[in-house]
Amino acid sequence: MEDSELLKKIAKGDSKSFAALFEKYKSKVYGTCYYLVSDKALAEDLSQETWIRVVKSAQDYQPIAPVISWILRIARNACYNELRSRNRWVDLDGEEEQQVPHDQLSVEEILGNFEDESRLKEAIIKLPPQQKMALMLVIQEEKSHSEVAQEMSCSVGAIKVLLFRARESLRRRLEES
């Protein structure tokens, strides 16, 4: 059954459809929360909050984007709100945009030719939340820089800076370890 059909049934209170959708995407939702907040207990709370929101607003889903993108957006928003409330989210200022060094980094350019996935994941989780959010949108959702900028409510230049810094941090950390 397609995800949108599952959501329609969830909107009517179908438990089996929810179980199917949950089983399919629980790792993505929990992983998104965990990588953004870098705290397992908090990630559990935010993951639960995400699924409850999915059920509550299942009838509002518009099929303009895939269901998983819609769910992950809910998860990212929950994390963003939590990080802001804990003062762990710092908005980019205008000066940073002036330091844009590259046009558009590809995923391969950012991550490099990593061999050890667990080492890469450890390095990613230590990045600042804004850089992780930008990385997620580029890698997980395959979004362009302008789409990432739109979702993160900042300029394309700011996204380029974030991704450039993420690449530099990852390289440094992977070389150190």
């Binding site: 209170g13 179908d14 949950f22 629980k26 990588y35 559990e44 639960q48 996935e117």
Partner: protein, 109 residues
């Protein structure tokens, strides 16, 4: 690079999954209840419409029915009057007969 899109996937602990399923089930049962209420409301609409239609029809038909009823009543009344008249006539006829008999006696015929 393989499965790069799944780089951020992470399996949640099983107790956490059970918690979510339990919490969400409460919401889903509420949704099912709402669905049933909506379905009942939709069933009530035609029933109410039928009652309303019946009421309107009854309202439109009632003057005629009242008229028919009054006509019946008139007929009954007139029937009752006729019966009374018949009874009176019978009484008169009896009186006449009695008077005739009385007359006969008085005259001695």
């Amino acid at each position: 690079m393989k499965d790069i899109k799944n780089l951020f996937d992470s399996t949640p602990p099983s107790y956490h999954s059970q918690n979510i399923l339990r919490e969400v089930e409460k919401l889903l049962s509420e949704k099912r209840l709402q669905q049933r209420r909506r379905a009942l409301a939709w069933l009530a609409v035609p029933a109410l419409a039928s009652f309303f239609g019946l009421y309107v029809w009854r309202k439109q038909e009632s003057p005629q029915m009242d008229f028919l009823a009054s006509e019946d009543m008139l007929q009954t009344i007139s029937d009752e009057n006729n019966m009374e008249m018949i009874a009176d006539l019978d009484l008169l006829e009896n009186l006449d007969t009695l008077e005739k008999w009385n007359g006969k006696d008085e005259t001695g015929s």
